[in-house]
Symmetry: C2
Subunit: 337 residues, 2 copies
Amino acid sequence: MPLKERLLIQRIRRLATRQKDSVRAGIGDDCALLSLPRGHQVLVTTDFSLENVHFRREWHPPDAVGHRCLTRGLSDIAAMGGVPVAAFLSLALPPELPQKWVDEFLRGLLKLARRHSLPLAGGDTAQSPGGVLADITVLGSVPAGKAVLRSGARPGDLIYVTGSLGSSLAALNELRDGKKLKPAAHAKHFYPEPRVAVGRWLRDKKLATAMIDISDGLSTDLSHICEESKVGAVVYEKMLSSVGRSSRFVSGHGFSRAESVAQRSRALAPDVLELALHGGDEYELLFTARPDRRVPKEIAGVSVTRIGETVRGRGMKLKKGDGSVTSLRPAGWEHFG
Amino acid sequence: MPLKERLLIQRIRRLATRQKDSVRAGIGDDCALLSLPRGHQVLVTTDFSLENVHFRREWHPPDAVGHRCLTRGLSDIAAMGGVPVAAFLSLALPPELPQKWVDEFLRGLLKLARRHSLPLAGGDTAQSPGGVLADITVLGSVPAGKAVLRSGARPGDLIYVTGSLGSSLAALNELRDGKKLKPAAHAKHFYPEPRVAVGRWLRDKKLATAMIDISDGLSTDLSHICEESKVGAVVYEKMLSSVGRSSRFVSGHGFSRAESVAQRSRALAPDVLELALHGGDEYELLFTARPDRRVPKEIAGVSVTRIGETVRGRGMKLKKGDGSVTSLRPAGWEHFG
């Protein structure tokens, strides 16, 4: 192992959060060794964060890249109603990368990990043949048989989303247009918050019949639930517009700004509704619940909005404000590449 | 998600081995959901296989790259005495890569997976910003408290290795010299066999006090056991030479060939002993056992050779055939980059 990699491992070891009791052996053995609560199942998710595919070094400060990297994994655990147990980071770095970039990347990642009491329990390091390459694996646990799958929705279930939708893609469009953005003012894009507490609460209360995180865009991720649950869906434009309007982007900059983004008419022709329907990289939760169950308007401090319902048959429809109905097609966000 | 990635996921889904009972949900949900035997702990390991770092497309046929990718993970599970439970593959591909390459890569990986009854239970796909990028995560299970760590050796333990050492680096040196090699004739390099059954047997019989797989080279990996167990070590040249001599490389090509490799005197000046001491990429197991325990000469069809012993204090020594003693320094293999 080259010296630089060995130093990186030592650095990660030092920076990594104190190992929890559940982690018996970690960085420094052939494998990490974890104990799960009795009667629990293991959740596993892995997600790439590749330079010029999932982030750009000129757009995203390193701590935001680290934060977003871990959010991708935590959000998947949240979408199953799980509790994150340990994270594993495979990290390949180009030789010319400044050490400060790596430190800031790890700081951003570990800060989010600490907020979830999540140990960084292992991983791999290598020299990168091109660009920063990260792959995050997150393990979670869930009581046996209680994980919320994509396949549990039944016709007549109501459809809900957490938080707001669209501002991450809106910020991305501004970055694409060459704008400099203050990361703190666009937290939804730079520091998206995985909805772990919400997902856990919904599972604990047996409220969600199916759940997914919105990583590819509402229209695409809803189509996954429909496909796996073998149902159709109707989304109400009126309900959805409030999800778009409540976004930090809109409230922070005024509506005219959002519309001026829309005017520019990129590939997705994003207005607020389009952004909410198809904007990805959101890490909000999309879930269904039986119509006779009361779903709070806020869970763990996060707003929850009803946006539609599942129906018999296949396909997704959008019910407009004027009562007309159009077909809703999955049109997920593209990567940055 | 771009169409090509979606097709890749469908292809993996189709090619992947039939999900075992232990995998409740797999590719197609936010996370894989696994059940472990009661009273077991989880083992986790992640390993990169990056083009031009861990393999070269002009040297390694795609099925060998897939095989080696999974071997890296399985070997770590073996080194803890674990049983592999599920694999997760993050795979980023350059747009111009022929589909046939991907199919062959997956075929090599899944063939090895099937031999270990290992389901490919998830992962991630992306477009690569440069070269083929794979990251394999393997989960294993081990009865609680029974994993074989690197830290369990005590002074006076005997040191053993499985199989033979040196032929993987010897093959690599030939590739570096521009030789064309028949992969089947150099299986140790192209299709290294993870010692899962040996590791499991040693753990089951409570024979191994400490264990590691030889990925960075015997001298480096032995130094890890010494460091974690807080012991020193003496390796006997005479015992080690039989490990080198029994190698497929040597038996396949005759000794003169091995020596001609040595003559060329690359960075490591490899003769058979040097190759055995410092050659990495081997995936044999290095372990210690109490001196009063009988260790078979063959376990699960793999030869086992005593090569030395641990001692009080720190540092590693090499005892030569003439009785003289020299210091043994960790000098692991370099990557291909």
